[in-house]
Amino acid sequence: MSADRLKSVCWDIVRKGWLLALLMFLWWLVTAAGWADPYKLPSPGHVLSTLGNLFTERALLDDLGATLLRLVEGWAIGVTAGVLLGLITGGSRFLEDGIRPVIAGLQAVPTIAFLPLAILWFGFNGTAVLVITAFGTFKPMAISTYSAMHQVSPTLMMAGRAMGARGLFLQRTLVFPAIVPNLVTGLKLSWSFAWRALMAAEIVVTGAQGLGGVLELGREIGAIDVVIAVILVILVVGIVTEQLFFTRLERWVNRRWGLTGAR
């Protein structure tokens, strides 16, 4: 690695990490100076050692793995279903008029409200959690999809039609690729909704492994250090997925679709 490259990587870390570092410092300051009640706000060192214990004694890595697997599965199912329904909805005025208000209404209902139903229909197990996660993903994805279809450039549609594209061919080769940049935004949005739904469901259905269960354990035994440790793990996973996956995906799509110019 050249010196310049090293320098730019270092600067990148400073640029993206300054707030996190500052908050950590303040956290440490407040606890080290004894301004905070240690029961209400444990010190960073205490939380880190709790985190270490969770990894070595409770095998938190297994919980994290189980949660991420469920998250990716539920998200993938929800995204597929959402995009398909969005395409169908946006493809016909009649269908859209009927489907749109229902989805918009459902989006106003917190996904977790459906958990009792999911438990009744799919059992008190991982399937119910997966269904809830997929459902939480599905709604924003469907909305993003059909909203994106309204933003497809009319000129492109005219061009496609004038070249003889019709029906399914038009949808597959023109409408779908045209909405991809907007779908990436939908993917990010639905990813955060998937997290919320999954955590809320795992807290109730604690039989299986998962971060939600650990979070609930911390709450139940009054171990606020465990709660903070799990929050930190979720935060780190969030930052890593954003930086390593979504930002790159977005950059690639924007370049490929010519949205950022030749950068």
Binding site: M158, R161, A162, G164, F169, P177, R255
Partner: protein
């Protein structure tokens, strides 16, 4: 011989608009003839082209293309849009190929036709580039190739050069003249640039607005290849300008339209 295109008393009034966008208008386009529709904004020239393309339905009247009533896009007509309207996610090659795919042409045959069309507009060296990697002029040439690859008997062009800078525009006008001489489709060319219309066309329909209508038709008998600085072309442009001034009686409208026409026609 039957006309390639017969425009038969078509008219259009848009909702929420007081005066008609286009009052009943008729003309024919012969096979291989180059016809321009020229005039200021709001004169109905783009509406007329949209109706010919089958993308806009006329209120009254009808259009026949190659002897068939126009009810939608297709059958022998291809369009070039103002902003190229290439699909940004496809390479140039795939863009040019799109219409052939839509028509279900086999792959081997497609490849040959695409290569030929790209050569004709001198873009074969950038076939695998994406539109964002190209200049505006190259994009517009690609969009012409995309239309030509369909072997249209009627080529419709909606202000294809108006977004380009002056030099690129001149180059592309020459190139279009050359391509047209090689392939000889009937062309309906919409522009607000008077000299461009006169330079390229066999026939120019001059339109005016409020309501949109054809005010005069010019037959340009100058032999090709032409030179844009030809004094005969400048005379025709001058006459068109005079004609437009005379047509506009509303003072406010006159100022607005005069400014536009002189600017783009200069």
């Amino acid at each position: 011989m039957a006309p390639a295109l017969r425009v038969n008393a078509v008219s259009k009034t848009y909702a929420r608009s007081e005066s008609p966008a286009l009052t009943p208008t008729s003309f024919d386009v012969e096979p291989g003839q180059f016809v321009s529709l020229v005039g200021p904004s709001g004169c109905g020239k783009s509406t007329l082209l949209g109706m010919i393309a089958g993308l806009i339905t006329p209120d009254e009247g009808s259009i026949e293309a190659l002897g068939e009533l126009v009810t939608g896009p297709g059958n022998g007509r291809a369009i070039v849009f103002q902003d190229a309207a290439l699909f940004p996610w496809l390479t140039l090659e795939r863009n040019v190929e799109y219409g052939l795919r839509a028509h279900g042409m086999p792959k081997a045959e497609r490849r040959e036709k695409v290569a030929h069309a790209l050569r004709m507009v001198h873009l074969d060296h950038v076939a695998d580039k994406h539109p964002y990697e190209l200049s505006g002029g190259m994009r517009q040439r690609a969009s012409i190739a995309r239309a030509l690859v369909l072997d249209p008997e009627i080529l419709l062009m909606d202000e294809p050069f108006s977004a380009l800078d002056a030099q690129t525009r001149t180059l592309l006008q020459d190139e279009l003249q050359r391509i047209w001489l090689e392939t000889r489709p009937a062309v309906v060319f919409v522009t607000h640039n008077l000299i461009e219309a006169a330079f390229l066309s066999d026939t120019v329909h001059l339109l005016s607005s409020s309501p949109g209508r054809v005010v005069k038709t010019y037959d340009i008998g100058i032999p090709r290849p032409r030179d844009e600085a030809d004094p005969a072309l400048l005379d025709i442009r001058h006459d068109m300008l005079e004609r437009l001034r005379a047509e506009v009686d509303d003072a406010a409208l006159r100022r607005a339209e005069f400014a536009e026409v002189t600017e783009v026609g200069a």
